[in-house]
Subunit: 331 residues, 2 copies
C-alpha cells in the first residue's frame, strides 16, 4: 500500500473503526479507495493468530452424503454464513474406515465452535473440548453424564408413536431393524419400540429384532435384512430406525419380491425423496432438520459470543407422516 499512512491506521480503518477512532474522513477515504484498487485482502491467519478467532465452525457428521446429514449440513452452512462463519466438515463414518481421530484434526485447526454428531471414540476429545470451554453442541445424539449442550429428537417418543400407529392399523408382529451401537439415539428408539409393544400388550420377541453393524457394506446389509425377513415369515410390519436402513430395507424387500403395504407394513425414521415419492409412499418419522440445524448454530454462536444461553438441551418432537406403507390390517 503506497499510501503514506501507517499499518496501524490501515488496520483501524479496514476494520471499520475509523470513525470511532476519529481518523479523518480524508484518510479513511484514501485508504478505502486504495484497498479497493489493490484488491487488498487481509491475511486471515495473521488475523486469527492475533485475535484468536477463525470465524470457522467445525461440523462432524456420520456421512455427508446421507440425506439427513446432507440436509443438516446445508442448513448449518446457510445459518453460519448469515453470521459470517464458514464451515469445515468431516465425515466420521461412524468410526469405520478411518482410524484417525476426526475431531482432533478440526481441533488442530482451531474452530471457533464445534457441531458434532458424536461417535463413542470421540468421547475423550469431547471431554477435552469441554475442559477447554470451547463452544460445542452435539447433534442427533449425546453422551449421558457428559455436560455438553445438544439438540436431538425425542427418539423414544418417535419409536413409540410408530408402534402405536402399527397397532392402530392392526399389525401384530412388528419387527425392528436397527444398528448394533451404543449410540443413544438408537438405544432410545429401541426402548421406544419395546415400551410401545408393552403399552399395546404385545409381546417383545427378540427374534423380531435385527441389529446390524455399522461397518458393513451396503450389499451386506441388504443381504442380512433379506435373510432376516425370509427367516421370520410371521413379520407383518417393520420399523427401520434410520434413513439408511430404510433405503437398504426397501431394496431387500424388492429383491424378495415382498410388496410394501400389501405384504408388509413399513415405517422408517427420517424422511427422504425415496420415501416421499415412491409408490407406495413410505410412512416415516420425520425429523425437523431445519430446526435441528438452526438451533445448533444458534447455540454455538451464543456460546461464542458469550451471550446468556437460555436452553442448553433441546429435544425436538418427532413427526409421524402417514403415507401408504401402513394400510389398515383391521377387517
Amino acid at each position: 500500500m503506497k499510501t503514506k499512512v501507517s499499518v496501524t491506521t490501515v488496520s483501524i480503518v479496514l476494520n471499520g473503526n475509523g470513525k470511532e477512532r476519529k481518523i479523518s474522513d480524508e484518510v479513511i477515504a484514501k485508504i478505502e479507495k486504495e484497498a479497493d484498487e489493490l484488491n487488498y485482502r487481509p491475511n486471515q491467519f495473521a488475523k486469527s493468530l492475533r485475535t484468536g478467532k477463525t470465524f470457522t465452525l467445525g461440523l462432524i457428521v456420520d456421512d455427508i452424503s446421507n440425506y439427513f446429514f446432507g440436509h443438516l449440513a446445508k442448513i448449518v452452512e446457510e445459518e453460519a454464513d448469515n453470521y459470517g462463519y464458514t464451515v469445515m466438515f468431516c465425515n466420521s463414518e461412524n468410526d469405520n474406515g478411518k482410524t484417525k481421530n476426526v475431531l482432533h484434526i478440526l481441533m488442530d485447526k482451531q474452530m471457533d465452535g464445534y457441531i458434532i454428531a458424536p461417535t463413542s471414540s470421540m468421547l475423550p476429545d469431547i471431554l477435552q473440548l469441554i475442559d477447554e470451554k470451547k463452544p460445542m453442541v452435539l447433534i442427533d445424539r449425546f453422551f449421558k453424564n457428559v455436560p455438553a449442550m445438544y439438540v436431538t429428537l425425542d427418539n423414544y417418543k418417535g419409536a413409540l408413536n410408530c408402534v402405536d400407529h402399527f397397532v392402530e392399523r392392526g399389525y401384530k408382529n412388528i419387527a425392528i431393524i436397527t444398528n448394533e451401537t451404543e449410540q443413544i439415539q438408537m438405544q432410545e428408539r429401541f426402548e421406544g419400540y419395546k415400551d410401545g409393544l408393552e403399552k399395546n400388550k404385545l409381546p417383545f420377541l427378540t427374534e423380531l429384532v435385527k441389529k446390524i453393524y455399522f461397518n458393513l457394506r451396503d450389499h451386506e446389509v441388504v443381504n442380512q435384512i433379506e435373510n432376516f425377513i425370509k427367516e421370520h415369515s410371521v413379520i407383518d410390519a417393520i420399523l427401520f430406525t434410520s434413513n439408511n436402513l430404510g433405503i437398504l430395507g426397501l431394496e431387500s424387500l424388492r429383491n424378495l419380491q415382498k410388496k410394501v403395504a400389501t405384504d408388509i407394513g413399513v415405517i422408517c425414521f427420517d424422511d427422504n425423496d425415496l420415501f416421499r415419492l415412491s409408490s407406495p409412499g413410505i410412512s416415516v418419522i420425520s425429523q425437523p432438520i431445519k430446526q435441528i440445524g438452526k438451533n445448533a448454530v444458534r447455540i454455538i454462536l451464543d456460546q461464542i459470543e458469550k451471550k446468556e444461553i437460555h436452553k442448553k438441551r433441546i429435544v425436538l418432537s418427532p413427526n409421524l407422516i402417514i403415507r401408504d406403507s401402513t394400510p389398515s390390517r383391521n377387517n
Copy 2:
C-alpha cells in the same frame, strides 16, 4: 514446555526432522514425551502464517444436500483426508438467495486449493485465482475460453444416448425438461438432445422444451412441470437433465396421476436412491461420482505439490442405466 530446550529444537523434532537435523536421540525422546504429556498441539495459524500452507481445500457446490453434490463432497473429503487435507465447503445455491460472493469468502481464508462447481457470477474471482496461480479445478462444468483445469462428464454424449435409447424403444415425442441457464453442462445436454433428435430424424420442436429457472421453490417447479405436461399431451417421453428436476418431475407425474413407463417414458440425469429403488425403476444417465471426486482431488494435489500435471481436462463417460421407466413402445 518446561524442557530446557529451545523452541527451535522443539519445532524441528515435532516436525519429524530430528533425525535429519541430527538432534540427539535423547533430546528427541524427551521432547516427544513432554509434547505428548502436555497434549501439545501446534497452533495452525502460526504455522500457516509462516509456511503459507493451510492444508485446507475449498469446495463450492450448488447444494450439498443434493444427491450428486453430497456424494461428491463425501468422496472429496475422504480423498483429501487421505492426504492430510480438510475441506471447507460453501453452497453457491446457483447464485440464488446469497448475494455475497461465496468464492471470496474461501479466498480470504486462503485455501491451498479450490474445487469449484462454478456459477457465472464467480467468473471474476476464478480469473483472479488463475492470475494468482492458485491450485484450482472446476467440476461438473467449466467456462469456455478460460484456461482452467476441470473434470466433467461428456454431457453431450449423455443426452444423445438418451435420445437414442428412447428412439430405439419406439418413443416419438421426446420432451426435455432442463434449467434456464448458461451453464455449460446444461447447454451441452441440450445440444445432445437436439442433435440426438436430428440424428434419429425426429423434428426438434420448441414446444417440447421446458426450461426452468433456478431460483424457483420446489413447489413452483412441480407446478411448472405439471402444466407443461398437461398442455402437451403428445409427449410420450421426457428427459430430465438433472437429479433435482427428475425428482420434482416424478412428483409432478404422480400429482397428474400419470404412470411412469405405462403412460410416459422417463430418463433422468444423475442416479439416486429414488430412481434406483422406486417402482418402476427410473432409467438414468449416471455420472461416475467417485471418479469425478478422486480426479478433482488428485489434480488439486498435483498442482499444490507442483508435480507434473498429465491431464488438465478430464471428460468422463456417461453411463446409461436402463431400468423400467423406458419400456418398449414398439409393437
